[in-house]
């Protein structure tokens, strides 16, 4: 089944919360999908107010939702709590894409706004452009953030990628901004570009693999390692190992490419 949501490009200004766009659509008829509630500020609207909705291959085994349009970044919470199936955003994604997802797959063809993958526990989120701030991060006050799943960003990412990471993997092919992996306790972050300042600050566990970057004083150098394998992922090259962050008596690991 493929559900096609073609934006009418008629969003005024106010961002539209479309938290109903997830696997629950697969169990609905076309009429029901059109009536799914979305919120434009304090106004309750329906999906069909903003999207032309069509279904293709209704009886097919696939489970795919495709969003198309020029203003997709104005829609927040696409794929929220996704448990299965795939959501494809053919454009830039709005805030909270993949928030609370536990399964399935979301692919954003363009850039993505802040808080994507927050509270994630499973599934896969792929952003082909740049991600903004707080990617895969913890909600304010939580002692643990993302607990599982995988996020891949082909471009750059903003501040606090994977804050309080408690499981899962985040791969940034480009650069990151400040505080990547701050307070992380478990899981894996990979930065193939340059890690922003203060990478791994206050971490207590888990691993960050960094191609380029400057580490804080709280990381003590150990030995070197070649072609390391972390959480089933293989990395080629020589890496220096660092343990820290000592300010938190942390036992986290940073592998910095030599």
């Amino acid at each position: 089944m493929k559900i096609l949501l073609r934006s009418k490009n008629n969003v005024d200004d106010i961002n539209v919360e479309a938290d109903g766009v997830n696997h629950q659509l697969f169990g609905m008829t076309l009429a029901e999908i059109k009536k799914v509630a979305v919120h434009e500020g304090n106004q309750e609207r329906t999906l069909s107010d903003f999207f032309d909705v069509t279904i293709e291959d209704e009886k097919g085994k696939g489970r795919l939702i495709v969003l198309e349009g020029d203003d997709l970044s104005k829609f927040k919470r696409i794929g929220e709590a996704l448990a299965e199936g795939e959501v494809q955003v053919n454009g830039d994604g709005g805030m909270y894409c993949g928030y609370r997802m536990s399964g399935g797959r979301i692919v954003v063809e363009g850039n993505c706004d802040a808080f994507c993958g927050m509270d994630m526990s499973g599934g896969e989120l792929v952003i082909k452009g740049n991600a903004s701030d707080y990617l895969g991060a913890a909600y304010r006050g939580e002692s643990a953030g993302m607990k599982g799943g995988r996020i891949t960003v082909h471009g750059n990412a903003g501040v606090e990628v994977g804050s309080r990471l408690a499981g899962g993997t985040i791969v940034i092919k480009g650069d990151t901004d400040l505080f990547t992996g701050i307070h992380m306790k478990k899981g894996l972050i990979v930065i193939e570009g340059t890690a922003g300042p203060r990478v791994g600050a206050q971490m207590t566990g888990g691993t960050i693999v960094v191609s380029k970057g400057e580490l804080m004083l709280g990381f003590k150098e150990g030995g070197s390692i070649k072609d390391p394998k972390i959480e089933g992922e293989g990395f080629s090259g020589d890496f220096k190992t660092f343990t820290g962050d000592l300010v938190e008596n942390g036992k986290g690991t940073i592998l910095l490419m030599d």
Partner: protein
């Protein structure tokens, strides 16, 4: 009960009022003495220069304050629109209409007015389905975020007065921003257990430049801009006995200075840190605060350490308190869907404006156009704006409705919370020709409910 009556029976136009609370900064000094010497003249004792000016200005009768209503000349708001005097009721009505027509109105300000006014504001935001935010989000919001992440070891200002032997001012300049802080609460007063006052205390100031506050310091550490996080990180390592390099990278601070500070901390019996926008609004923001709060928490194993943010507005703390006890969150509260949600970065004023995610602004006791980043402030031209403020401001120039209100703490009573959370009553020392913002917001709420048919 006689004492009770005396305390609660605030007579307007009292000629000689003592223990008046100053409604300017987070010090919330409550020992001001106002002696009326004429209709709009008074002698003002004990206030600092800024507080003095506030009372003076508020007591002196200026031009009669007028409600203003904009008549748009075209589709968009323009500087040469007629912005003329209107009756209060017409303004209330227009404000209600504008709010009801909005899909995402944002009610902002609150930190320079009473808890009573803010209560009405929250009720209004809930009624119309809007976002309510207060000036924290452009000030000490990062401090709150850090407290939410790691907690805080703190106390009332009087505890510092009585116990502290080491005062550290980090990224703030109390001599100019909180003028009586040192003399009332921290450095100079004789405390129950610090009877020699200044002589019983050491003062450390950490800042990017010398200021009026650094002249008081026993030790001044000059740190490079945007490097406080690294410096605190190094200090935390030093306290744990870790070796440091001769110069802390990126900070411009040598190891010796850090070790000296570490030793001061180790030998102090009660250390009080105070920090300001030098930490909240420089690179790292809430993580700078996280670092200092984490340092404070772990130092409590060996000595007594407390930390306080130097809150600017006199009732920003009170605004956060009432926001929290009513909604569960201290600022940036989204009530558009009939229940409270909170996520600074999304639900805070600047972020809403930058994403064009607001369509009506209701500004109380604040002048955001004067203070917000230019790109955010620009948005005030694009949507209806309602302003309630004792005086016309830069923001009110963008208003569609401007309602002057009494100066809380001079012309109207109310409750404010000091920077350390101590609630103090604000007295009224002069009558006002305009209603309080509490009354105005309450009237707008009432009108909104009427127009909705009591739904």
């Amino acid at each position: 009960m006689a004492e009770e009556e005396k305390l609660t029976n605030i007579k307007p136009d009292l000629t000689d009022v003592t223990d008046v609370t100053c409604p300017f900064c987070g010090n919330l000094c409550d020992d001001i003495h106002i002696k009326r010497t004429g209709d709009d003249e008074a002698e003002i004792y004990h206030a600092c220069g800024v507080g003095y000016f506030k009372f003076k200005k508020s007591i002196t009768k200026g031009a009669t304050r007028k409600n203003l209503l904009r008549k748009k000349s075209g589709d968009k708001k323009a500087p040469d629109d007629a912005f003329n005097e209107a009756k209060l009721d017409a303004c209330i009505d227009k404000a209600a209409d504008l709010l009801l027509a909005a899909k995402k109105p944002v009610l902002f300000g609150w930190a320079s007015t009473s808890v009573e006014a803010t209560r009405e504001g929250i009720a209004l935001a809930e009624e119309i389905g809007g976002v309510i935010d207060q000036t924290s989000s452009v000030c000490h919001g990062p401090s709150t975020l850090a407290v939410q992440d790691v907690g805080i070891s703190s106390c009332t200002l009087g505890t510092v007065l009585n116990h502290a032997d080491l005062i550290i001012y980090w990224g703030c300049n109390p001599s100019e921003a909180h003028m009586r802080h040192m003399s009332r609460y921290t450095v100079y007063p004789r405390g129950a257990f610090r009877e020699k006052g200044r002589q019983d205390r050491e003062v450390v100031v950490v800042d990017v430049r010398e200021t009026a506050s650094t002249s008081v310091a026993t030790q001044f550490i000059k740190v490079d801009p945007n490097a406080d996080y690294e410096l605190i990180h190094a200090l935390r390592l030093a306290m744990k006995g870790e070796e440091l390099p001769d110069e802390i990278p990126g900070t411009g601070v040598i190891k010796k200075k850090v070790m000296k500070l570490a030793q001061r901390l180790k030998r102090s019996k009660f250390c009080a840190f105070f920090f300001g926008l030098g930490l909240t609004m420089t690179r790292g923001r809430h993580r700078n605060i996280d670092a200092i709060l984490s340092l404070g928490a772990e130092l409590n194993k060996d000595t007594k350490v407390v930390i306080r943010p130097m809150r600017g507005h006199y009732n920003v703390t009170g605004a956060a308190e009432v926001f929290t006890w009513q909604t569960g969150y201290p600022f940036a509260v989204d009530l558009t869907r009939g229940y409270a949600r909170y996520n600074p970065g999304e639900t805070s004023l600047v972020d809403l404006l930058m994403r064009d995610d607001a369509d009506c602004l209701f500004i109380v006791a604040s002048d955001p156009v004067a203070h917000l980043p230019k790109e955010a402030a620009r948005r005030f031209s694009n949507m209806p704006v309602i302003v309630i403020d004792p005086h016309e401001t830069i923001t009110s120039k963008f208003a569609d409705v401007y309602l002057p209100c009494a100066v809380t703490g001079v012309e109207a009573e109310g409750t404010a919370y000091r920077m350390d959370g101590v609630p103090i009553r604000l007295k009224k020392v002069i009558n006002s020709d305009v209603p309080s913002d509490t009354d105005i917001v309450a009237k707008i709420l009432e009108r909104v409910k009427e127009k909705r048919g009591g739904k």
